[in-house]
């Protein structure tokens, strides 16, 4: 701990300059002012350290005391994370007061008083290396929570707690002279070590058809979701948070709406995990730094989320980090660099923005852990382009670093086409690899299905543009059928209501069946048009059973029955009566 002589010399919002600190290093935590507000050293110049404060600095004055804690920004990692809500510095919000006044109260410290049932799996006398499992605690939501030998310890297990209740203050074991506590501290900006990085392998099943069928992401992959306001970004991310097949979800609400967060917390508490039967909330860690909370804690929250994800990955779990929104994080970077007098690059953002974004997304991946297990971290980041401008820096940089891109389109959203993922503006770089995985796992038609859907949508878009110019009736039959088929794909496959009981989550088999059904019907329509059936008769056919199958058919088998019925109608009766009713749009 260094000197009492250190004092504040300058305050400008979250930027605090401190003189007289001795033995201070970059990234260390310094407390400033009478309320000892925490901040992080971001620059040292001679005897002056620049501190980025994580709380509102109102009232902090030159001459106020500053104290160095001699440690880096750290978060407490333990089983208390699951099912709970934290601020950007991983301090629990559940026991905190209704208004977060940095001067009035310090937030309660993490996970001290909770208790869990511990079952040892190692034995005293065992020789264990870093990352080896010592035992497990029963965690909510059915998560397989392991207590591991820390990365920097190894050797003989000297003491190991017997089976029974443990609390956040307990030491679980002594390994090679190092105490292993249940809840440990980790500097969040540092990656937790792994044995090896592995290539991508299996897809992350999100339960959202447009993603699983057209633009999948791998476990350990990265994806970005750019979309202007009102395009349904947060709803899509919340759907993935609820339904994707990861073991643990880390949701970081970074500069977003408080009411939305409250709504998600309420919904998660009421939902059951279809895979484990536990509460969905029990597998979720929520880091909440709403837009009105201190801006610099927003900057830290992203790293806190990454550290939490790595903590669970080390247990051999598949983790998904959902960050909403990375643009607000980038704004925090801009705000601070501007106050710090750095030269601005594009739109005032610091020149380091691109590398900071890249480094964040690189914390994703599939790994062999120190303990020899396979674990992964998938990062999904929302991007909020200012004015919907996809060329702005955060959007354009992010596109370069992610494996998948789900661009949300305002026109689709206005037409109530949700999720409004644009098929023209999105990509999935690992689609070929995922096709291989599907082929090995019982769905050899995955790649062909994806290619057909993509081609159909592109052809429908081209034909649609022509139709706008010259009217649909002037188009040749093939193009009119393309427009029809495009509508069937959009309404029968891609649209998926987050509010629907039956369809908010769609498993892979049902998604494939729905896509196959629409492709078969579209193909038949094209055949019939080729045989001379007038296009308007096909257009007027009642396809509503097919379009409603996503709601009405609970299984892949039932989808196929509906498709067969529609195909039979098309085959058996030569269509004569122009449709009595418009095909349903819902």
């Amino acid at each position: 701990m260094s000197g009492t002589a250190a004092q504040v010399s300058r305050v400008s919002g979250p930027l605090v300059e401190v003189t007289g600190l001795t033995g201070i290093a970059m990234s260390q935590i310094v407390q400033v002012g009478e309320h000892r507000l925490p901040g992080e050293v971001v620059a040292i110049n001679g005897g002056t350290a620049t501190v980025q404060a994580y709380e509102y600095t109102g009232g902090v004055a030159p001459g106020d005391e500053a104290v160095s804690l001699g440690e880096q920004l750290s978060g407490r990692l333990g089983p208390h994370l699951l099912g709970a809500v934290f601020d950007g510095l991983l301090r629990p919000l559940a026991g905190a007061p209704a208004w977060l006044d940095p001067a009035a109260s310090s937030l309660p410290s993490s996970g001290q008083d909770l208790a869990w049932a511990f079952t040892p799996s190692a034995r005293e006398g065992d020789h264990l290396g870093p990352g080896a499992a010592l035992g497990a605690v029963s965690a909510p939501g059915g998560v397989r929570y392991l207590v591991l030998v820390p990365p920097d310890a190894s050797g003989q297990v000297r003491r190991l707690r017997p089976a029974g209740q443990v609390t956040g203050q307990d030491v679980i074991a002594v390994v090679g002279g190092t105490q292993v506590p249940l809840v440990s501290s980790w500097p969040v900006r540092q990656r937790r070590p792994v044995a090896r990085r592995l290539g991508p392998d299996a897809p992350l099943q999100t339960g959202q058809r447009v993603i699983d069928v057209l633009f999948p992401v791998t476990r350990g992959g990265t994806s970005a979701v750019p979309g202007g306001f009102g395009t349904g970004k947060t709803v899509l991310l919340q759907q993935i948070t609820k339904w994707c097949d990861a073991d643990v979800i880390v949701y970081v609400g970074c500069g977003e709406r408080g009411n939305e967060l409250a709504e998600m917390l309420t919904e998660l508490a009421g939902l059951t995990d279809p895979r484990t039967g536990g509460r969905l909330a029990g597998r979720t860690v929520i880091i909440a730094n709403t837009s009105n909370m201190p801006m610099m804690a927003r900057e830290a929250s992203i790293y806190s989320a990454a550290a939490v994800a790595e903590h669970f990955r080390d247990m051999g779990l598949h983790v998904v980090v959902v960050a909403d929104s990375t643009s607000r994080w980038a704004e925090a970077l801009r705000e601070f660099s501007s106050r710090n007098g750095e030269m601005p690059a594009e739109e005032g953002y610091p020149a380091s923005l691109a590398s900071a974004l890249a480094a964040f997304y690189e914390r994703a991946g599939r790994f062999t852990t120190l303990g020899g297990q396979e674990g992964s971290i998938t990062i999904i980041g929302a991007v909020s382009p200012a004015g919907g401008d996809m060329t702005e820096p955060v959007t354009s940089y992010t596109q370069r670093f992610v494996r998948s891109l789900w661009t949300l389109d305002r026109d689709l959203a206005y037409a109530r086409h949700y999720p409004a993922v644009s098929w023209a503006g999105s990509f999935a770089r690992d689609a070929g690899l995922i096709a291989g995985w599907h082929a090995r796992n019982g769905d050899p038609g995955w790649a062909a299905r994806r290619a057909s859907l993509t081609a159909l949508l592109a052809e429908a878009d081209r034909a649609g543009e022509l139709a706008e110019l010259m009217g649909a009736s002037a188009l040749p039959p093939r193009q009119r059928i393309a427009i029809l088929a495009g509508r069937l794909v959009r309404e029968g496959v891609l649209q998926q209501s987050a509010l629907s009981q039956a369809d908010a989550y769609c498993d892979q088999a049902r998604a494939a069946a729905l896509a196959d059904a629409v492709l078969a019907v579209s193909g038949r329509c094209l055949e019939l048009a080729g045989l001379g059936v007038p296009a308007d008769q096909l257009e007027d056919h009642d396809f509503s059973p097919l379009l409603r199958a996503k709601e009405d058919a609970p299984s892949a088998g039932r989808v196929r029955e509906i498709a067969d019925a529609v195909l039979a109608e098309l085959r058996e009766k030569p269509i004569t009566a122009p449709g009595q009713r418009e095909p349903g749009h819902d």
Binding site: V11, G58, A61, A103, L261, A262, P294, E347, S384, R416
Partner: protein, 462 residues
């Protein structure tokens, strides 16, 4: 909310003014002055002005002068610091008052004072203790109540362009809104309004103000620009206390947010900060969030705070930073249409572009009426069909339209004239609004009402 003891500070006066530039005053030789502290500035002639500390660096303090620096003489100015960020008195004594944008009486009454004070910057609400909004605020305006129901704890802005009656609409909402008989208060923060506009607002709100349900803060267009930065914060601090301590449902109406943002830009420019989009400061999003996010409902506390900010989109551009960043924070928007206004429809709300994201939580069974959400969905679907039909008729001529397209266009006309069109002082009950909504739906044949349950159609179809 937390109370800390004010005072207890020695308050020396400082007189060394180093620099005056735009709205900024830089004082030298200050000691013990904290960031964001409130300052009183006395001019030689005895005039009192006010300021906020934007930066302290050694013995220099940068102060933003709310009333501007015009007429200030650096050699004849003294500054006294309050020892803490600005706090104001809160309590029911504000109700019925009309004040300036800085909270000084504009109604001839005594200054508003009180024992209990709160910091105007507020504190962030603990997101883990927020309750999702769930009950409606009824405005008595049919198009809003039917299609974009306002929900307690929601923030729903009005996006307008110059020349449209957004102020009248904001005023009408402030004058009529209610929470189904529960205690209700309105705080209206007017920023940068012309004298003519302010007179209109005062007239609209007179009755509610006289009834002691309303506080009005008015910053006029020729009032000090920088004062506008304070106005919404005063309004919200007063409203938070009315809501979460006194247990009322508080509605804060703020107009015009574009004027507020311009004041923020002016200070930012004067400080030489790096500009972001359209020269607005990079922290505009966070600054707006620090206002908009003060609404909501809180676990274990009574009351709610609902917000309706109104803003004009410069040149009607929805991608301009002010509407864009507002849209990213708020929960939906009411968009006004120049086309409807030109046709004499009031309020000219573009129903298809407008959205209340929280409506499904605040309307429908147990909230308003069982058929409400379905009626709204069916109406919007029919309006969307009408828009497509109108676009088609422009291409191919109305003679070539089919029956269903003609019906859709007739539906839209009935909707605009019967349901949307309403007197600027006319308040309709929800029952009346839904009766009109069904009357309009009567233009469509029963079989087209596929989104509404058969029992509701049997009961209400005219």
């Amino acid at each position: 909310m937390t109370e800390t003891a004010g005072g207890g500070w020695a308050r020396p006066e400082f007189t060394a003014v180093e620099q005056l530039r735009g709205p900024l005053l830089i004082a030298r030789g200050v000691k013990g002055v904290g960031w964001d502290e409130f300052a009183s500035i006395r001019l030689g002639a005895g005039e009192l002005r006010h300021g906020l500390v934007l930066e302290v660096n050694g013995d220099l303090a940068v102060i933003q002068v709310l009333e501007g620096t015009a007429g200030m003489d650096p050699n004849d100015t003294s500054i006294e610091f309050a020892g803490s960020p600005l706090r104001i008195a809160v309590g029911p004594q504000w109700l019925g008052r009309v004040c300036s944008g800085r909270g000084e009486p504009r109604d001839g009454g005594p200054p508003v004072t009180g024992e209990l004070t709160m910091p105007v910057a507020g504190f962030p609400v603990n997101p883990a203790l927020r309750l999702p909004p769930a009950e409606p605020v009824l405005t008595g305006i049919s198009v809003i109540d039917e299609l974009t129901t306002l929900v307690r704890g929601q923030k729903l802005p009005i996006f307008s362009v110059a020349g449209l009656p957004h102020l009248e609409l904001a005023g009408q909402i402030a004058a009529q809104a209610s929470a189904q008989g529960e205690p209700f208060s309105v705080v209206f923060a007017a920023m940068g309004l012309t004298h003519a506009d302010a007179a209109v607002i005062r007239a609209i709100l007179e009755e509610r103000s006289a009834a002691g349900d309303l506080v009005l803060f008015i910053n006029l267009a020729d009032d000090p620009v920088i004062e506008r930065i304070l106005t919404p914060r005063l309004a919200l601090t007063v409203a938070e206390h009315l809501a979460f301590t006194l247990g009322r449902h508080a509605l804060v109406v703020m107009a015009d947010m574009t004027s507020y943002c311009e004041a923020l830009r002016e200070v930012s420019m004067a400080r030489g900060e790096l500009p972001a989009r359209r020269a607005y400061p990079g922290y505009l999003y966070s600054d707006l969030a620090s206002l908009y996010e003060r609404c909501g409902r809180i676990e274990g506390l009574p009351g709610s705070l609902t917000m309706v900010p109104a803003l004009t989109m410069p040149s009607g551009d929805i991608t301009h930073p002010v509407p864009d960043l507002t849209g990213y924070i708020t929960e939906g928007q009411l968009v006004l249409s120049a086309d409807l206004h030109a046709r004499g429809i009031y309020p000219p709300v573009d129903a298809l572009s407008s959205l209340s994201r929280l409506m499904r939580h605040g309307a429908g069974p147990g909230r308003t009426r069982d058929d409400h959400l379905d009626v709204a969905a069916q109406t919007l679907a029919a309006l969307a069909a009408a828009r497509r039909a109108r676009e088609l008729s422009e291409l191919i001529g109305s003679a070539a339209l089919g029956d269903s397209d003609r019906r859709a266009i007739r539906f839209e006309q009935a909707f605009e004239t019967t349901l949307m069109n309403q007197g600027p002082a006319e308040s309709r009950t929800l029952a009346e609004t839904l009766r009109l909504a069904w009357q309009v739906l009567g233009v469509l044949p029963r079989r087209d009402l596929t989104m509404i349950s058969a029992s509701a159609v049997d009961r209400y179809y005219p």
